[in-house]
């Protein structure tokens, strides 16, 4: 069965308004001691703001398993990480940026799309392909919410 944990999310400060009516004192809340620290999404998505960049995906070359990154998704890219085979990276190939999975086949590295209709690119040395950063997170939106104008929402059937 699928379990859903609901986490408390950090928001802008909530200013409490002074209340003039008397509040009856009574039994203290048993949850008082269990209150945790609110979750800050920025800390997870952008732990290192000086070397993390946001970018929008243009195209469907990664729209397939296992990454399933749709056109218009928002990427968090960390440039300080050393890219490992198997990771999704942003690289410059002949002057153009591309998002692909870095794979090692035998002694050579390949940039492999997760969408099988696109071709893989063999990495022919450092001059040919320059790694820009490692994709750490993908943000997509399933409804027309606040990100909608900036990120293309994934169309649901």
């Amino acid at each position: 069965m699928c379990r859903v944990d609901i986490l408390q999310v950090a928001r802008e400060p909530v200013w409490l308004i002074e209340c003039e009516t008397a509040i009856p004192a009574g039994f203290p809340s048993p949850a008082e001691d269990e209150r945790g620290v609110p979750i800050d999404l920025n800390k997870i998505l952008l732990p290192h703001p000086t070397h993390t960049y946001l970018a929008r995906v243009n195209g469907t070359s990664m729209d397939g398993p296992p990454s399933n990154i749709p056109d218009g998704a928002l990427l968090a890219i960390d440039c300080a990480l050393k890219p490992q085979p198997g990771q999704v990276i942003v690289a410059a190939v002949e002057g153009e940026f591309t998002v692909k999975r870095l794979e090692k086949r035998g002694a050579t590295y390949w940039l492999v799309p997760d969408n099988p209709t696109f071709p893989a690119v063999e990495v022919r040395g450092k001059e040919h392909v320059q790694v820009w950063g490692v994709v750490t997170h993908v943000v997509t939106e399933l409804i027309n919410g606040k990100l909608h104008e900036h990120v293309r929402a994934r169309r649901l059937q």
């Binding site: 070397h51 946001l54 970018a55 929008r56 995906v57 243009n58 195209g59 002057g95 940026f97 591309t98």
Partner: protein, 435 residues
């Protein structure tokens, strides 16, 4: 060389504006690229390839048109939102690598590496690591000069920039190396030597930094502006006279704030020029509040076309000492308007204006005036709200009415910027895109 344990590093980004553009447009790599000033006027940054074509710094674009067409030079409008964000990233990383950091300009910083050799081994190795990390995190190439004084660190950086065989890093930790570097730098390229001093030194037969370092203190005092010159020579000899002015947050509190621009087109209507001056004063006031200062001196200047028919002077300025130092936008705009009124000559076409704030005091500690209007606290609250609104909804969301000028809509003083790249890192609508 002085037996000093402290070492300064000067980290300087190579062709910073061009490098920022290349970070998001790898196709510009290896091609001649120049970045233009506001209004696409003059060249303010050149790639190595553009320098090799003989394109000078500060040249107006129209003068190099033939070169641009012949060699396919890419000319871009300046994208200060991008450069500011990238500078913040570089400085943020540098701050984590040294106990003290002085942000010297948008693209260079002094680090104090005092005691770092104990933890990180040889300092040139450490500098190489910093250099490659800056490159990896921001894609911006740098050069690093290391020396026992700030002036020598600047000089070492210069040598590292000119000599590719050094791999971008030069450490001056012995007399022999220092002497070698001093001999390679022309005297006019020494930090603190202006054009006038350079001419004077050349006439005295001093042509290199090494020659300057051999000067006696008496000569330095006599010919290079007294104690300032003496310090400069001492620094070249390896005796530190200048310390770091570190900044806590990576942004240095400034001693004066200037906001000046060339207009997008020449302006002849008072309301239009007032709109520009009011906008500059508002912007300067906002910067002033951000660093927690209050200004006591306000200058406004106004320029005509330097190449026009009007006789000089082309620039006129007026200054006022404020009754009470302030960071209040409405107050500063009010005084700026009065100064503009004094400078204004009907029937004249103006091309440029500027607002300069000086004489800073710590905010909230201003000397009280007998005639000052009461309600300082309310004004302060109002300004805080104003800054919060503009931070949240974008610059200029709330502004004084004078900024609007005669025709609300696009301000006529705003620049052209027809070749600006997107603000990749700071604007949702212009966010960086990858395929």
């Amino acid at each position: 060389m002085a037996n000093s344990t402290n070492m300064f590093a000067l980290v300087d980004c190579n062709n910073f504006y061009v490098s920022c553009e290349r970070a998001f447009q790898p196709s510009l790599e290896g091609k001649p690229v120049v970045v233009l000033s506001n209004n696409d006027g003059c060249i303010v940054s050149r790639s190595a390839e553009a320098k090799a074509l003989g394109i000078p710094m500060g040249e107006p674009l129209f003068k190099i048109r033939p070169l641009v067409e012949q060699h396919g030079v890419q000319a871009l409008s300046s994208n200060y939102a991008l450069y500011g964000d990238m500078s913040g990233r570089v400085m943020g990383y540098l701050a984590s690598m040294a106990p003290e950091l002085e942000v010297y300009s948008i693209d260079e910083a002094f680090l104090s590496l005092h005691g770092m050799a104990r933890w990180h081994g040889p300092l040139d190795t450490y500098a190489r690591q910093i250099r490659s990390e800056v490159r990896r995190r921001t894609h911006i190439p740098t050069c690093i000069g290391l020396a026992p004084t700030k002036t020598l660190a600047k000089l070492a950086n210069r040598v590292a920039k000119k000599d590719p065989s050094l791999g971008g890093v030069l450490l001056l930790d012995s007399n022999e190396r220092r002497q070698w570097a001093l001999e390679r730098v022309p005297v006019e390229d020494v930090w603190g030597i202006g054009r006038q001093y350079a001419t004077k030194l050349h006439s005295m037969g001093i042509t290199t930094a090494a020659g300057l370092a051999r000067c006696s203190e008496a000569i330095a005092r006599k010919h290079l502006g007294g104690v300032v010159g003496a310090r400069l020579v001492r620094e070249l000899q390896g005796y530190p006279c200048h310390q770091l002015n570190p900044s806590e947050d990576g942004s240095l509190a400034r001693q004066s704030i200037a906001c000046t621009r060339t207009f997008g087109r020449p302006l002849a209507q008072f309301e239009d020029v007032l709109g520009a001056v009011a906008a500059f004063a508002s912007r300067a006031a906002e910067k002033l509040r951000r660093q927690g200062s209050a200004a006591s001196l306000l200058t406004v200047f106004l320029s005509q076309n330097r190449f026009g028919n009007a006789p000089p002077p082309h620039t006129r300025s007026a200054q006022v000492t404020l009754p009470v130092s302030t960071s209040n936008t409405t107050e500063l705009v009010r005084f700026a308007r009065a100064l503009l009124g004094r400078l204004w000559q009907p029937g004249t076409v103006y091309t440029k204006a500027g607002v300069i704030l000086d004489g800073f005091e710590q905010g909230g500690q201003e000397q009280l005036s007998l005639f000052a209007p009461d309600g300082g606290e309310r004004v302060e609250r109002l300004m805080r709200k104003l800054d919060a609104l503009n931070a949240r909804y974008g610059i200029g969301s709330v502004q004084v009415a004078a900024v609007l000028g005669a025709h609300p809509g696009k301000a006529p003083w705003k620049g052209q910027q027809q070749r600006r790249t997107p603000a990749y890192t700071t604007c949702w609508d212009e966010l960086w895109q990858v395929g």
